[in-house]
Amino acid sequence: MESKLNLNPRLIDSARTAARNIADDVQNFIDKNTTVTVERTVARLMGVDGVDEIEKPLPNVLIDAIKEGGGLSRGAAFWIGNAIVNTGKTPQEIAEKVSSGEIDITRLPIADENKIMEAVYSTAKQMVERIKNSRAKRDEYLNSIGEGRKPYLYVIVATGNIYEDVLQAQAAAKQGADIIAVIRTTAQSLLDYVPYGPTTEGFGGTYATQENFRIMRKALDEVGEEVGRYIRLCNYCSGLCMPEIAAMGALERLDVMLNDALYGILFRDINMQRTLVDQYFSRIINGFAGIIINTGEDNYLTTSDAYEEAHTVLASQFINEQFALKAGLPEEQMGLGHAFEMNPMLENGFLYELAQAQMAREIFPEAPLKYMPPTKFMTGNIFRGHLQDAMFNLLSIWTHQGIQLLGMPTEAIHTPHLQDRMLSIENAQYIFNNAREIGNEVEYKKDGIIQKRAQEVLAKAEELLKDIEEEGIFDTIEKGKFGGVKRSFTGGKGLKGVVEKDEKYFNPFIDLMLGGAK
């Protein structure tokens, strides 16, 4: 593609190379470690589910038992496999017996290694097959009823009650939405377990549980068939349980997952070692399940200035791209994030936003870019807010964004009401239709404001990436270079759940899933 912005391809290459080196460096660290949630994911993918009498999820019961027995560094798969060989029971039955105290999982006699491997792989392959089937089911829907045109219209539901969410989601689909994201309740990202069953209470969002996923999936399939468009379901693969949520989403056919390598560190104060290890396995699963990930660069602009710090967004996109590639996630599934967040009072702000949106499009040509609406400068003036959202929609159709996270006029007040979503969808549909081909018609003046802005942001991003390459990502975050937020290597939540692997560690799912369906 010819660059309309006259971007220097050598700078892009250099930035990408720096990002690759940064990711390589971190991958060395990731490969040496596992975490409690990674191992709980292995347990879930081997078929462990449900809760004990105090509502503690059995994957937690099992992994806690292995951890207390000092066995986590070998990986849960080994112990579950060994227990299968010893008892002839299923992983679920084994977890139940661990819970009741009938089995001390790390004290069983160690069986023959080949037999353990055989038990592990035959169980693991069943679940991998189920995920493949759910991916095939999505393809079948896309081939039969089809999908909306890009940019996909993405809206959120966040009532706290999954059944109320269903109503809102079905209404949104009828109004024209293509993606429904169920926002999670405020505190979920800090829970070191995934709640169980359907839920009807949450603050500013609804719990992500496997049952809630199932309920919403069914509702969206129904309404999708009715409106003749596949409706994608999105949730949040972030916080202390990233890979577990990924596994649940893969099984229940979610289509989109928020899944950023750094968000939890910066915005939820989760320990960086923990998140980086967790995000790797979660992305392998998302990649394999055909799930589009959304990264969270847009959030940097809520804590720092969107004009001054635009290059940190681009730098982070480069890094997220490399982490995703390492986990076998193809570019078509990388919903790299960016946002329309400049102060609306900035003179020519629209031109700068245009430059940056076009720049992201050119640098990541195949990625279904996730474009975030104005949020920080939305106010109680819902009428001006509706206009800000209109400007944002115009840029999106102009620069061919992939996923349009619709802004709500009431952004500064509450999570969306039924009518807010309708107004926003109407806004986007009107503008997308009215200006459909604008991007193919308009070119930018050589060395004009737009070209120069994009070139400047790229140059600064390349510079920043080279700095990070030198310092390493851990130091960079410690210095507060992303979103102006400083986090320390050993600070934050969840560090206790990081465990160094021993040389005999194995995780069958990395082997079975990395690099997509085989």
Binding site: Q170, A172, F203, L418
Partner: protein, 252 residues
């Protein structure tokens, strides 16, 4: 402006294009299917709210048997503006330098302020705007003030922890930010803090202030706080209030 009637402040009502026409624009959704009956229901409802000549100027099917309306109506009620009283912070706010001088002259020691966004709330931008060096909109934050030691504990801080910190550093004031208000989580959380401070016998010894976009002074006082600050607050507002209280309550 001759020929234009002046409003009777004891009986005010909304203004559209003529004094006392009572014109109000509103929009809402009803859980009934789109159609004539829905519009009639909307009109009857708006009449019951005290509007004359209710008019549905737009309605739309929301897709799940619900209908959206944009309406006009003429308000029949009036309010006596001359009798309005709103509890608010009435003091003249000092600028940063004035606050610094005031501390030097009247308090003669450094004052200590602890702040956080508490409970499960992860929004730091508001409390940072008040406390951090950089401040907000060109107004420096409390960290920048000579004579103030400002300790910002960040977000998602449990009430126990902010109290423990306040005791540890002998804080003069605690600042709490609450941004998420869904299902009134902020009320429960703010109330809990007051109760815990009362139980510890600390409530009278520390100036307690809350802030956030959905908070105001009146609500804050109802909840047992000394003051509440909403949208558009700056560090110098809070600082003025705190230093005045310290002197007034003889906490020097």
């Amino acid at each position: 402006m001759e020929g234009i009637q002046k409003a009777d402040l004891t009986k005010i009502k909304p203004y559209g294009d003529t004094l006392n026409d009572g014109m109000v624009q509103m929009s809402f959704t009803l859980p009934v299917p789109y159609g004539d009956e829905a519009s009639e229901a909307a009109k009857q409802l708006v009449s019951k709210m005290g509007f004359e000549s209710p008019a549905v100027v737009f309605s739309k099917d929301l897709g799940v048997g619900y209908t959206y309306f944009i309406m006009y109506g003429k308000c029949t009620h009036t309010v006596d503006y001359t009798n309005i009283e709103v509890p608010k912070i009435t003091m003249e706010y000092m600028e940063r330098e004035e606050v610094e001088d005031y501390i030097k002259k009247n308090i003669k020691r450094d004052i200590v302020i602890v702040g956080a966004c508490t409970g499960t709330d992860a929004h730091t931008v508001g409390i940072d705007a008040i406390m951090n060096m950089k401040g907000f909109d060109g107004n420096y934050g409390l960290e920048r003030y000579k004579g103030i030691e400002a300790i910002n504990m960040g977000s998602q801080v449990p009430n126990e922890e902010i109290i423990a910190k306040a005791i540890e550093v002998k804080a003069d004031a605690i600042l709490v930010s609450q941004v998420v208000t869904q299902k009134n989580v902020h009320i429960a959380n703010l109330t809990q803090l007051v109760e815990m401070m009362e139980a510890e016998g600390l409530r009278d010894k520390i100036i307690l202030i809350c802030g956030g976009p959905r908070l105001n002074h009146e609500l804050a006082q109802e909840l047992g706080y000394d003051a509440g600050f909403g949208t558009g607050s700056y560090a110098n507002h809070v600082a003025t209030f705190v230093v005045n209280q310290i002197v007034e309550r003889n906490m020097i």
